[in-house]
Structures are given as C-alpha cells and as structure tokens.
C-alpha cells in the first residue's frame, strides 16, 4: 500500500495517476481536508480533469489529515493501521510560495518532512517504510556562488548552495533531514524536479507560478530578459512518469538515492522569448536594468509585481554572471529512465503553443493579436 501526500497539487495529482498506472497497489492520499469525503472529492475532481481513467480507480483511498501535525492529526487507530499497511510513502506535499519567508515555509516543508520521517520509522517491530521524498533542484540555485559550476548528480545541497531564499532553504533543510535519517537506516530516495512546466498533453499549468508570472510580465511589458540561462525544465507529466518509474526500479546504490528530475537538455531563457514571438506576442530583448524598469513601469500589474518580488528570478534568469544557474548532471537518471521506457515529450513550438493557449484561455495573458500573428 502506498501513501501519497500532496495529491491535489500540480505534480502530486499526476504522480497519483502514474502510481495507479504503474503499480497494482492501493494509493492512499493524505489530503488536508475537512472530511474523508472532501478529500476524495478534491483528489478525484483534480484527476478527472487530466486523467479520467485513473480518476475512477477503485485502488484510491483517502485520509483527511495534515502532514505538518503530530500523527498527521489522525486518530491513533487510523495512524497505527496505516503504519502497518503502508510500505512506501511518496512525500509530494509542500508549500511552494517562492515569495514566502523561510519561517512560514518551514512550517510545512521542514516540519511536514519530519512528520513523514517519523511515520516511515514508526513501527518498532516491522520494517521501516521507504520514503520517496520530492525535493527541488532549486536547492542548488546559488551553487555558483558556493563555487560549484557543475553539480554532480548525487551531490547534497548545503545552506550555501541553496542561497538565502525561503523556499530553497526550506527544501534544503528538509533534504538534509532525510539524509540524516537515511544514514541511520531509513530507506529513502530523493527526487529533485527542476522548473516544472505545463502538461505536455494539454498545456495545463498553474496560473501563478514563476513561469506564468514571467510570461505574463513579459507580455505586459513587451520586454524579455533574453539570457542564455540554462533553465532545468521538465513537463509535469514527464516528471510524474520519471518519479513513478524510478521509484519502482531496483536500487543500484547503497544509502540515499538521489535523482534529478529534468530533461537532459536545458531550456535557454531566450528560447522562451522565441516561443512567445512564434505565438504572436511581441517581446523584445531587455537587459537586467531595462527589465526591472519595465516591470516597475507596469504599476500595480500583479505579474510585474510578482517578478519584482521574486528575487529568486535573478538566479533563474541568470541576470548576472554570479547568479547564473550551475550545470546539472543527470546522466545516470537519464539512463535509468531510458531503461524504463520513459519517452521525453517534445518541448517544441507546438508544446509552448499549447501552454500559452492554456494561459490565455484562463485570462493570465491576453490572446495574441491577429496582426502580429500574420506578420510571422
């Protein structure tokens, strides 16, 4: 029996469907909800929009609880029953507010991970459960400042590699907690997705994440910081497939297993500008100074404000040499995925066209103008 946290999230919901598809196990979704019925409704609603076949699965179970509370806030008998039956925990629940402070994010990201570890280790008589911990490659956001130009696949982050940002720091601390318990015998695998982009099947993506704010701010200002920053990207459905597949193949390394969850080829920031233009959005290249001035010039446009607030974007966009993202090795993980038959979806013009159409259909960005479209 598998326990999944974060099943209502962008990645978690797709991981839920992949676990149902790739295993014959029951998947118990631990959801922050008012009741079991509410938890079930939220997960099935989410799944039915993207994977109707799996949304009706009889192998789905639901528990209303809170990952950050002792015993997940569950009654003792329910917690003990899960303790006996669950063999693997997929910990995907996290607060991903890139503008949030460490203190607030740690309440979920670090405390939640500590509770999940407690659960994995709970039973004194039985075997510990395997922990599949979903982290983020942003734990290496500031790796260049820490003196690393290239991050080896199995490297562990430090407070220097994650930089002084709430979200990466909270995820770095959570990873270090997992690593410390892995040293003492907890079977654990850490998966580090890069920048998780739209679903390759229908272009669906969050309307308020870093990429949505960047695209909306670029279209609003007509500018784009066209750097050659190598964005470590992955389509969300591809990330879910990779994690589910990697979690079910036999382990080859002793101790803590670590997998970057990215395409082997990064997306250069300026390629994103090219895809915007191909879809009919007129954006021109901007230097860092021009970009920041253009954002301020938008007044209270919420996406421009978000880009000003997200100091993390200076790293993601590599606006200066010391904030450039490091190169990320993913050789072994790519091999394992190829061996498991995972095919990387194309991130081509058609892919970005679907993603941009999704954002315009949901009012995040305007429709491209006919005039600019016909010019190309």
């Amino acid at each position: 029996m598998l326990l999944l946290t974060g099943a209502t999230g962008f990645l978690g919901s797709r991981l839920c469907a992949e676990l149902l598809r790739r295993t014959d196990q029951q998947v118990i979704c631990l959801v922050r909800a008012d009741s079991t019925e509410d938890a079930e409704r939220r997960v099935r609603d989410r799944l039915s929009a993207q994977d109707p076949g799996q949304a009706r699965s009889h192998r789905l179970r639901f528990v209303a609880g809170d990952v950050a509370l002792p015993r997940f806030g569950l009654a003792r008998d329910l917690y003990d029953a899960l303790d006996i039956e669950v063999t693997d925990v997929y910990h995907c629940a996290a607060s991903v507010n890139m503008a949030g402070s460490y203190r607030r994010l740690a309440e979920v990201n670090v405390t939640g991970t500590a509770r999940v570890i407690e659960f994995c280790e709970a039973s004194p008589e039985g075997d510990p459960k395997r922990l599949h911990h979903i982290s983020t490659l942003s734990v290496f956001l500031a790796a260049r400042r820490a003196g690393w130009d290239r991050v080896p696949e199995h490297a562990m982050p430090t407070p220097r590699t994650c930089g002084d940002f709430g979200y990466p720091r909270s995820k770095c601390d959570a990873e270090l907690l997992v690593a410390a318990h892995a040293l003492r015998g907890l079977p654990a695998t850490v998966y580090r997705p890069g920048l998780v982009l739209a679903d390759s099947r229908d272009g669906a993506a969050p309307h308020d994440d870093f990429i949505a704010c960047l695209i909306a701010a670029a279209i609003a200002t007509g500018r784009f910081p066209e750097t050659d920053s190598p964005l470590p990207v992955i389509a969300v459905d591809h990330a879910a497939q990779m994690i589910a597949a990697l979690s079910t193949v036999a382990r080859t390394r002793p101790g803590l297993d670590v997998h970057p969850v990215i395409r082997p080829e990064p997306l250069l920031a300026r390629e994103l500008a090219r895809h915007l233009r191909a879809r009919g959005y007129d954006v021109t290249a901007a230097t860092e100074t021009e970009w920041l001035a253009a954002l301020r010039g938008q007044g209270r446009n919420r996406y421009a404000q978000a880009m000003r607030a997200l100091t993390i974007s200076r790293h993601l966009l590599g606006l200066s040499p010391d904030t450039r993202l490091p190169e990320l090795d993913c050789t072994e993980t790519a091999k394992s995925c190829a061996g498991a038959g995972i095919v990387s979806p194309a991130m081509d013009r058609a892919y970005f066209s679907r993603a941009l159409r999704h954002l315009s259909e949901h009012g995040v960005i305007p429709q491209p103008t006919q005039q600019t479209r016909s010019l190309r």
Partner: protein, 82 residues
C-alpha cells in the same frame, strides 16, 4: 475638520485594509513577516505608498524582517530626500 494622516497612520491603515492585518496585531516592533506579509505583499505595499503618498522606494528597500517602525522610518526618509 481636516485630518492630516501621518505616514505611520497611513502604513497601519494600509496594512489593515489591504493586507488583512488584525489591528490588535499592529505593534511598532512587529516584523512584516510576523504580520503575514511575504515579499510579493511588500512590493504591493511599496506601490501603494508610492501611489498614495508619492513616497518612492526601491523594491529592496523594505524586507520581510523589518519592523513596522523601520518601515515608517524608511518612508519618512524617502519623503525628506525628495
């Protein structure tokens, strides 16, 4: 009767009206983070102060760890240097 609002009054009213801060929570030594403002909210606060009072601050002039007192002082300094 004319009521001239001080910078402090305006900051406090904005925190309550626009950022859902409980009036009882407003103490001079409380930090913005402690009042529930993240860095996006702080950029919004900077824009509101620029629009309402004409006090222009850089985006990194206010930080989540600053107290209400420090915010008021930064805005008053911006007013004097105009």
């Amino acid at each position: 009767m004319t009521v001239i609002e001080s910078v402090r009054d305006h900051v406090e009213r904005t925190l309550v009206d626009s950022f859902e801060v409980e009036p009882a929570a407003l103490r001079p030594d409380r930090t913005l983070d402690g009042l529930g403002l993240d860095s996006l909210a702080i950029v919004e606060l900077i824009d509101i102060m620029a629009g309402d009072l004409g006090l222009i601050l850089e985006d990194d002039a206010l930080r989540p760890g600053m107290t209400v007192d420090e915010i008021v002082r930064a805005l008053e300094d911006a007013g004097e240097s105009r």
